[in-house]
Symmetry: C2
DNA sequence: AAATAATCATAACAGGTGTTGTAAAATGAG
DNA sequence: CTCATTTTACAACACCTGTTATGATTATTT
């Protein structure tokens, strides 16, 4: 076997651990998700975890990356056949916590955000991932400006942040509050925001 | 001393404990906020905590109530001299995590939301408090409909939930992301949302 | 003043935590 | 097959956790 596929195997094992951790965190929160619990969920002992991760924080960090990557992936897939202003809408709709997997992802992210105070490494990593996310969104907006789909006098950095805020708000509420939005209502909220980006045609 | 003032004293002590807990949770997260740490922060021993609270979850539950009440208070105060559509705007601006106290409150709330999975009691309480919050917002909207300030064909239940989602999204981002919104940007985001509620005048 | 209740300190308990080191098993290369 | 490396299991470590019980101290009431 080549060296590359060995690394892939390693990476796979790490992903398996991360997925087991994700399931537990989504089900019972970060506090109750101990290394032993993760190992049990995976069907092994903590020896595996300590072999692939220096410590627990590094495991959580890796999980955060996996989760964010998964979100970006989902957005990229759903958007590939869509053109124009609709790209923004479908990107949003693709990542709301509607399916079990997306609910898990959002719960993990929420657990992280609550866990971050006092954990400098995690905060830094989260900031970085957030920046990447914002940048890709900003690129999306830039392309739309160039095609004339949205107004040209927008502060795209701010607009990208506003998009993320809207996403986070809806996502958090779908998990933490009894309110469950219908598809129609979700689209309405997004369309309102989209409309605020359109060029003012008289 | 009358019986009432005794109860007030009790309530005061409980509040003191809750405030100490709030400070620690905001600083170093829920995980590191043990009962002993809270007691140390308050300058007493765990005997006080166990005397005023059955267990830790009950303490956290009380803290959640205190925090939510504080938010409602702040909104009520800032809104009392404002009339019309502006009431919505000032209510929002009054509770964003701009000051140290508000940052603490939001961090505590975030810690809760991340802590909730697997803790039925806390989830139930959060749902209840969320409902109260939504109801008062809905009342606000109803009043605005009656004065003709906003459109009459709105689903106020949905609109109230949308407001909260907007609030949560901005608040979460202000804490968890490097983005810091300027006053101008905050007002812009809110005004956009307000505009979507206005009656369509030709 | 005596008795009752509220408040708080202290210590112990049983259990769980992340981390570390060591040795066994599995795997791959020469 | 042999040897070296990777992968895993296991046990022990020191420490921290929430909870509970027991007294001491203080406050309130009778």
């Amino acid at each position: 076997m080549t060296k590359l596929s060995v690394e892939e195997k390693q990476s796979d094992r790490r992903s398996q651990v991360a997925l087991a951790a994700m399931k537990l965190i989504a089900e019972q929160g970060l506090q109750k998700t101990s290394l032993r619990a993760i190992a049990h969920e995976l069907g092994c002992t903590t020896g595996v975890l300590t072999h692939y991760f220096r410590n627990k924080d590094e495991l959580l960090l890796f999980l955060l990356e996996v989760v964010m990557e998964r979100l970006a992936e989902k957005m990229a897939i759903t958007v590939q056949d869509v053109e124009g202003i609709d790209r923004l809408t479908v990107m949003m709709l693709a990542v709301f916590p509607t399916t079990d997997e997306l609910k898990q992802i959002w719960r993990v992210w929420l657990a992280f955000v609550g866990y971050m105070p006092g954990h400098v490494g995690l905060m830094e990593e989260h900031k970085t991932l957030y920046q990447e996310f914002k940048t890709s969104l900003k690129n999306e907006l830039t392309a739309l400006v160039e095609t004339g789909a949205i107004a040209t006098d927008l502060d795209l950095d701010f607009e990208a942040a506003a998009w993320i805020a809207l996403m986070d708000g809806i996502g958090v509420n779908m998990l933490a509050a009894p309110q469950t939005y219908s598809d129609k209502q979700l689209k309405m909220m997004i369309n309102r925001h989209v409309r605020s980006l359109l060029p003012n045609i008289e």
